[in-house]
């Protein structure tokens, strides 16, 4: 357990290092009751929901593929990914296009809130008691004035999917 915390601390350190000033910029978005943050450098663009072509043989949270200016990118429903109940598309629903590990993917979020700059010392490691939902994708908590932002490790969003499908 403590190793995990150390690792996360190391990760945070690394994040911090990238920002010479000790600050970093986040794009925050809402998912269910929670607010999440993703490093702005990972976010390519934010687009409206469009028609998604569903793909068989994929986990439930892969909503399908869209055409983003002639390249085909997969769309992940973050709610389903985190095991939250599905929700109908609203006016606020957005697809956040992110670049992870040389791939471009879209993630469906309930709403995109804002871009904010935080200080690295505002980041605390996630409490080990947080269990279940998306625990492995959290790198830390950002304490803001009145709210708590969950720092998301978007890199791992496509991981660990095998087993649920793959063979006919």
């Amino acid at each position: 357990m403590s190793t995990a915390v150390h690792e996360q601390e190391a990760l945070i350190q690394e994040h911090a290092h990238r920002e010479a000033s000790g600050t970093m910029q986040l794009v925050s978005f809402r998912l269910g009751q929670e607010e999440y943050g993703v490093e702005i450098t990972k976010v390519q663009e934010i687009i409206l929901m469009g028609e998604i072509t569903k793909v068989p043989q994929t986990p439930e949270y892969i909503k399908g593929l869209i055409n983003l200016r002639s390249s085909v990118i997969p769309i992940v429903d973050l709610r389903l990914r985190f095991g939250l109940p599905p929700q109908e598309t609203t006016d606020e629903t957005r697809i956040m296009v992110v670049n992870v590990r040389s791939k471009t993917i879209g993630i469906i979020v309930d709403a995109v809130s804002e871009v904010l700059r935080i200080n690295k010392d505002q980041i605390a490691p996630p409490p080990p008691t947080v269990a279940g939902l998306g625990r492995e994708y959290l790198t830390g908590l950002v304490k803001l004035d009145k709210r708590l932002l969950i720092l998301l490790d978007i890199e791992r969003i496509l991981d660990e999917q095998d087993g649920s499908y793959g063979e006919f």
Binding site: E51, G64, N67, P74, E167, F168
Partner: protein, 1026 residues
């Protein structure tokens, strides 16, 4: 030596490197191929080193030689060194000095591998520097044993040769003028000699220097432009620095100039432009002096250097074909030398006038001979050697020894004692005290490799020399006739000694000629090999006189400019750009689909002419009604109403007629779209073709693989290659190498049985591996077939179970074919012993994933005791797929049109259930039906809704053995779709070959029909089993 070659990695270098990589691959392939031929021959002969085709050896020599030259041009010392060694070996072999046995072949293979590795290292620098010390040493040892040892070469070969020449000239200078004229320390103070006035002496000296230096370039036309690029880059640097430092400059500036001059020298010399190299060399010397003497760049020097730079720029322009006027190297050099002379003693003896007029041979050393001769009859001679003859030092030595038989050698340059050490020798100069006639001397010194012989009778009484300039080309009868007639005797030198001996031409030793006019010489000889002698053919005239010296580069320049034009015919293009182009062509295909869709829609909406006809009818009726009404004289009100209607109708008609125009426009639009369609097709095809390369060279590589394996495991295997001309996308060829190597190794190592075993089995002793490639529809099929023992299903299964890849229960259900497919699972290696060859490398799982990355399918079929066949099916292109679009459920799917056998409608009464499998009977055939959602898991419905339909649309897929009717809602039509990789941003999805973007911008999935068929087969066999 072990150190990596370090060079400034500028753009120029990168461009050259790119070419080098391309070119060297070809040469290495050629080496490998020919080595294999020799190896095979050796084997047939029972290891007797004889009966080799000399042409094969020659070709290998040439390949090594080209590699050597190319690597020298780039300053790749390591490669240069090793290729040079390899060249020496083949040279010795073709001259019969070295017997080729297995050891030699193995060593050559090793060396070629090492060169390949070093070439690869250039592309992708490894962590560990690659050195070739072992190979170089082994070859040196080999050559030493064979008695044809050579001194180690260096990349400065060309420079050294030049330096030798310069040395020779200097030595004579010194002998005559004292040390002060030498390019030594004391010469760095050019106070006088305004650059505008060039002293005669310097002029003469420059003429001599350049008369002796000839361009001997058999440079590949494609490099001409590259060389010009490089030169111009260097020239720009020189110019910048010179202008900047004007009359001052730091030591760094000087060093930069020195470096640049050196680079220009090196690159020109490496490709045989010795004249430009010479000038650069002189500049370098000058600069070197300045650096050593810590002198600033005085304005005079600066001027002269700028003048030289101009000459070089002119040369580059000629190379490019932008200019025809040849650079005046002589003048530039003369000015440069004048700087030296200005500092030298003023009391120099002015040169003998007659000597001055006999350039072609340096007057100074002739005078040295004159002095040495002390009044006896002496012959001064210059023998030029072909640039790339083997063992030039020995040739020089031979000349020396032959001369000794004829008389007393009073002068020999270079030093005979050093001759044998020399890797490069361009010419020897000698003075011979003899009574022998010139002809005899001429015959004697015409050793193999001599390109040109000039002999001069040094006559004590007159002090004049009889120049005997020689065209360097092969003589012909015509040429000889001319020689005899012309008073200033030309002395056509033979390219080979035999011919010269046969001809035994006379040299007319006429003193009458002072060569005040350059002798005419036959300049074109029938039957000569044009490429090799073309530069030489233009040179003889220029060779004799300083005035003509400048005409020669002109001729060369003209020749080069036409070559430069040719160089533009092929173009190296970054594959990324082609990728981009392909992508754009793909988007064009998408837009085309959109245009078609819109066009069709418009056409349907534009309606036909009926509306206009109807309207006309209504109008006529109205008019009739109106006139009728007037005749009746009834209600005015009605008439007004009718008139209004008539007017409205008129407006309507006008609008309708403009609609007719729209319709015409729509027709034209559809015409335009068809035009667009054709152009798109052409673009797509052209772009595709630019990327297509034959698979032959890739296949050829496997000869070596098989050879290595057989050497290692003692099997005898023949490799049959078919379909070499089949073309594939370059990128696919690149990616296919590794997987194919693995497959071929597998076959050779594990598939083919040892000879005894094969004999016992009644099979031919020699195992056969066949590589085949052919196009089928829009696919390329590549097959690796062996006639070995086949896969051992039991062993695979045992292993799979023991590794937990398959459960015991499942294992029992698997068919033989299914068991074979298990070898594609990660972590399963069928080899019981991991051998040196196949142990390393990738597993079959990686082979499979590599093929799948290329949107390909790999299939394996094996029959115990008969052999194994692996088929790889690849799309013709990675980008565009002619497809059938269908609607299933709510979605549109594409499938390759080539797998669609037919589209049929099955009536409900023809659909039956057999053994739980729904089948349709169509024209006496029974076809199993399949619906996507039976195969696909996951969200959504992939079922076509056909419950209440009276007819079901089936797309019949597959081949004769396995037909499958895919149930679809509707067939949309045929369309070229652009394949977009799903794996690019996600990963491969089983059953889906990729995605494409439809005309309306939506994504549709491309079905992987092969995988679907397999899934159905698996499912049905399973259901039969239970």
């Amino acid at each position: 030596m072990a150190a990596m070659d370090s060079l400034p990695r500028d753009e120029m270098f990168e461009a050259l490197l790119g070419d080098f990589l391309d070119e060297s691959a070809q040469h290495l392939d050629r080496l490998n191929e020919n080595l294999l031929l020799v190896d095979e021959k050796l084997r047939q002969n029972g290891d007797q080193p004889q009966g080799f085709d000399i042409e094969v050896l020659n070709e290998m020599f040439r390949a090594a030689h080209s590699l050597k030259g190319l690597s020298a041009m780039l300053g790749l010392t390591n490669i240069n060194q090793l290729t040079h060694k390899v060249e020496n070996v083949f040279d010795a072999a073709r001259n019969g000095q070295l017997a080729i046995d297995r050891g030699v072949i193995d060593l050559m293979f090793r060396a070629v591998d090492r060169i390949s590795a070093m070439v690869d290292a250039l592309r992708d620098p490894p962590d560990e520097p690659i050195d070739a010390d072992a190979e170089v040493q082994d070859i040196a040892e080999l050559l030493r044993r064979a008695g044809c040892e050579k001194k180690q070469s260096s990349q400065n070969d060309a420079e050294k040769a030049l330096a030798d020449l310069q040395l020779a000239a200097n030595a004579v200078d010194q002998a005559l003028d004292g040390p002060s004229i030498a390019t030594g320390e004391g010469a760095g103070n050019p106070t006088a000699a305004p650059p505008s006035r060039v002293p005669d002496q310097a002029q003469t000296q420059a003429q001599q220097i350049f008369a002796e230096v000839r361009d001997d370039s058999d440079i590949d036309p494609q490099y001409v432009a590259i060389l010009a690029d490089e030169l111009e880059q260097g020239i720009d640097t020189l110019m910048d620095t010179l202008l900047r430092v004007e009359g001052g400059g730091t030591k760094e500036d000087l060093e930069s100039l020195l470096c640049t001059a050196h680079r220009i020298k090196g690159s020109s010399a490496a490709v045989g432009y010795q004249r430009a190299a010479k000038l650069a060399h002189l500049m370098e010397d000058r600069l070197q002096q300045m650096r050593e003497s810590n002198k600033p760049l005085l304005p005079e020097i600066n001027d002269v250097l700028l003048r030289c730079t101009d000459a070089l720029r002119q040369f580059a322009a000629v190379l490019r074909g932008n200019a025809t006027e040849a650079p005046d190297f002589v003048d530039a050099a003369a000015r440069l030398l004048a700087l030296d002379h200005a500092t030298a003693s003023a009391a120099e003896p002015s040169p003998n006038a007659s000597c001055q007029e006999a350039p072609g041979i340096g007057e100074d050393w002739i005078r040295a001979i004159l002095e040495a001769s002390q009044g006896s009859r002496a012959i001064a001679g210059l023998v030029r050697l072909h640039a790339n003859i083997p063992l030039p030092g020995l040739k020089g030595r031979l000349i020396y020894e032959k001369l000794q038989h004829l008389g007393q050698v009073c002068f020999f340059e270079p030093d005979p004692a050093q001759l044998e050490q020399m890797e490069r020798l361009e010419a020897v100069q000698f003075g011979l005290l003899t009574d022998q006639p010139l002809e005899a001397v001429d015959r004697a010194v015409r050793v193999g490799g001599a390109s040109d012989v000039s002999l001069h009778l040094v006559n004590d009484e007159t002090g004049a020399t009889a120049p005997s300039p020689s065209p360097a080309a092969k003589p012909s009868d015509v040429g000889r006739a001319a020689t005899v007639q012309d008073a200033p005797k030309t002395n056509p030198a033979a390219a080979s000694p035999e011919e010269a001996d046969q001809d035994g031409q006379a040299i007319s030793p006429s003193e009458a000629s002072k060569a005040s006019t350059p002798p005419r010489s036959p300049s074109s000889k029938p039957g000569e090999s044009a490429a090799a002698t073309a530069p030489a053919a233009t040179s003889p005239g220029a060779n004799v006189s300083g005035t003509n010296a400048s005409a020669r580069p002109e001729a060369n320049g003209k020749g080069k400019s036409s070559e430069a034009a040719k160089a533009g015919e092929t173009l190296r293009v970054d594959i990324e750009r082609l990728d981009d182009l392909m992508n754009l062509a793909g988007q064009l295909v998408i837009s085309r689909a959109r245009f078609f869709e819109l066009g069709d829609k418009l056409k349907a909406q534009a309606g036909d002419l009926r509306a206009a006809q109807l309207l006309r009818g209504v109008q006529e009726t109205l008019t009739r009604l109106l006139s009728h009404n007037e005749a009746l004289g009834s209600g005015l009100e009605l008439a007004t109403q009718l008139r209004r209607m008539e007017k409205d109708l008129q407006v309507l008609q006008e609008e309708l007629s403009s609609l007719t125009e729209v319709r015409t426009a729509v027709n034209q639009l559809s015409e335009a779209i068809h035009q667009f369609d054709r152009i798109t097709d052409d673009i797509q095809r052209s772009v595709m073709q630019t990327r297509m390369v034959p698979i032959g060279p890739l296949f050829q590589r496997f000869k070596r693989v098989v050879r290595d394996v057989t050497r290692a495991n003692g099997k005898t295997i023949q490799l049959i290659i078919r379909g070499e001309k089949t073309e594939l996308d370059k990128r696919m060829i690149d990616e296919l190498g590794d997987p194919l190597i693995h497959l071929v190794r597998n076959s050779a190592d594990h598939g083919i049985e040892p000879p005894e075993e094969r004999k016992a089995l009644g099979k031919p002793m020699i195992g056969t591996i066949t590589l085949d490639a052919y196009q089928r529809g829009n696919s390329i099929i590549i097959e690796v077939i062996d006639d070995g023992k086949g896969l051992n299903a039991d062993r695979i299964l045992r292993k799979a179970v023991s590794r937990g890849l398959v459960s015991q229960a499942d294992a029992e259900k698997l068919s033989r074919q299914e068991i074979y497919q298990l070898i594609f699972l990660p972590g399963l290696s069928t080899a019981e012993k991991v051998t040196e060859v196949s142990g390393r490398g990738m597993g079959m799982d990686i082979v499979k994933s590599k093929i799948e990355d290329l949107s390909g399918v790999i299939e394996l079929d094996s029959t115990p005791g008969v052999g194994t066949k692996v088929s790889i099916r690849l799309p013709l292109t990675l980008a565009i797929l002619p497809s059938l679009l269908v609607e299933i459920g709510d979605d549109v799917y594409a499938m390759p049109i080539e797998v669609v056998r037919e589209i049929v409608c099955a009536r409900r009464e023809n659909i039956l259930t057999v053994h739980g499998q729904r089948t349709a009977r169509i024209r006496q055939r029974v076809i199993s039906l399949v619906e996507l959602d039976e195969l696909f898991h996951g969200i959504g419905s992939y079922r076509a809704s056909l419950e209440d339909a009276t007819e079901t649309t089936l797309v019949v897929l597959g081949d004769q053995n396995h037909e499958l009717g895919l149930v679809v809602n509707r067939v949309i039509g045929e369309q070229d779709v652009v394949i977009k990789s799903v794996a690019e941003n996600y990963h491969n999805v089983p059953g889906i070959a990729g995605a494409s973007i439809l005309g309306n911008g939506r994504v549709s999935l491309i079905l992987d029909v092969g995988a679907l068929m397999q899934a159905v087969l698996r499912r049905s066999s399973g259901s039969f089993a239970t």
